[in-house]
């Protein structure tokens, strides 16, 4: 089968046609840059912290953020990569090796922080203890601690934005999860720029891959020759997200454009959700323990840390 734009062989069939390698790469990069510009994700004087894991999404977003900076004259010194080592055996150490190599080859400074140093225990050791009293799933614990560590270290390095590799599939899953669980306040925090209002205590998180499907991202890394080995988090199947992911992939296979439809409909409703949340006037203060941002006296990360200390 030939590309819709030239005679070369097709590598992907999209809703609007078939694309060969070169036309796909151009289309993908153009889509990411248009997303950055349309939603003003990156300003010319920003200091950018790219949240990385060494997986396909974060390597792609790191590579394209660097390319965007070069295109728009943002100094190379304004970009660095930040990785969080959760302490999951036979998983994270493999992706961090790929990440380190990737950053060295492209002269991107990389900072790695770990749950063990930040919170006293690896996720593997903390999960059974916290789960015992709270029934919290590993993904719940990991999510809280990751956001905590990323925000803390991004701020420490003077970053004005945290760039993440969230893609269209991640966003569609999060939207559906929040609808199924009636979490309208969490839904209001989604979108290409996370969060409802700007606050100095939080570094805003932005998502340049917002309109890129997971399959497109994997294809991009393959065609660019990025070293991405498949490693599976041993906890991933325990999460609610896994079920939603499977459901949406089945839907997408039967009804092309489902994920994009979910995200586009959501974007149309997002201003209303954000307005509703703004009216609630949630107070953001400093956590009594770690002095990081929190909407309670003690932040969620420190509450879990206390459980570990008491155990």
């Amino acid at each position: 089968m030939a590309c819709s734009k030239c005679e070369e062989k097709t590598v992907i069939t999209l809703q609007h046609g078939d694309l060969c390698k070169n036309h796909f790469l151009n289309y993908f990069e153009d889509k990411v840059f248009k997303t950055i510009n349309k939603f003003q994700l990156i300003g010319r004087k920003e200091k950018l912290c790219v949240a990385t894991s060494g997986g396909k999404d974060s390597l792609t977003v790191l590579y394209l953020t660097k390319k965007y900076c070069e295109k728009y004259g943002i100094p190379a010194d304004n970009l660095f990569a930040l990785a969080v080592d959760e302490g999951i055996e036979n998983y994270r150490e493999k992706t961090l090796i790929d990440l380190d190599k990737f950053c060295k080859e492209r002269l991107i400074p990389l900072k790695i922080v770990s749950f063990r140093e930040e919170l006293g225990k690896t996720l593997d050791k903390a999960y059974p203890i916290i789960n015992k009293g709270s029934n919290k799933k590993p993904c719940n614990i990991c999510g809280v601690w990751r956001r905590y560590a990323l925000n803390k270290h991004a701020k420490k390095e003077g970053a004005t934005k945290v760039v993440t590799g969230h893609n269209l599939d991640d966003e569609a899953q999060a939207i559906v999860m929040n609808i199924f669980k009636a979490n309208t306040s969490l839904a209001g925090r989604l979108g290409p720029i996370s969060g409802i209002q700007e606050n100095n205590l939080f570094v805003q998180r932005v998502k340049p891959l917002y309109f890129c499907g997971e399959k497109e991202v994997r294809l991009y890394t393959f065609l660019k020759g990025f070293q991405v080995q498949f490693t599976e988090c041993p906890y991933s199947k325990e999460g609610y997200r896994h079920h939603i992911q499977e459901m949406l992939n089945n839907f997408e296979h039967k009804f092309k454009g489902t994920k994009q439809g979910i995200v586009k409909s959501f974007l149309a409703m997002l201003p209303l959700l954000q307005e509703q949340e703004k009216n609630k006037e949630e107070k953001i203060e400093l956590c009594g323990k770690c002095k990081e941002a929190s909407n309670k006296d003690i932040c969620n990360a420190c509450q879990m840390k206390e459980v570990l200390q008491d155990a």
């Binding site: 089968m1 590598v11 999404d57 997971e214 994997r218 393959f222 498949f230 599976e232």
Partner: protein, 67 residues
């Protein structure tokens, strides 16, 4: 049709014998949703509509992140 299939997610290579001659039919036989894999032959990505040859060696790369 006979083919050798390496599944990245399972880290396993299998010899299979199925009825059909396209990538689409191969994935149906293996009960794999095309949304979740890239199909590669001789280092080149091929689409669902592509025809397969007898004794082709196929790699199925996982699209879904493991995290």
């Amino acid at each position: 049709m006979q083919a050798t299939v390496f599944n990245e997610k399972e880290q396993e290579t299998k010899q299979i014998d199925f009825t059909g001659n396209s990538v689409k039919e191969l994935l149906e036989y293996l009960n794999i949703n095309p949304e979740t894999v890239l199909v590669v032959r001789k280092g080149v990505v091929i689409t669902e509509e592509e025809s397969l040859q007898e004794q082709d060696c196929i790699e199925l790369l996982s699209v879904i992140s493991g995290g």
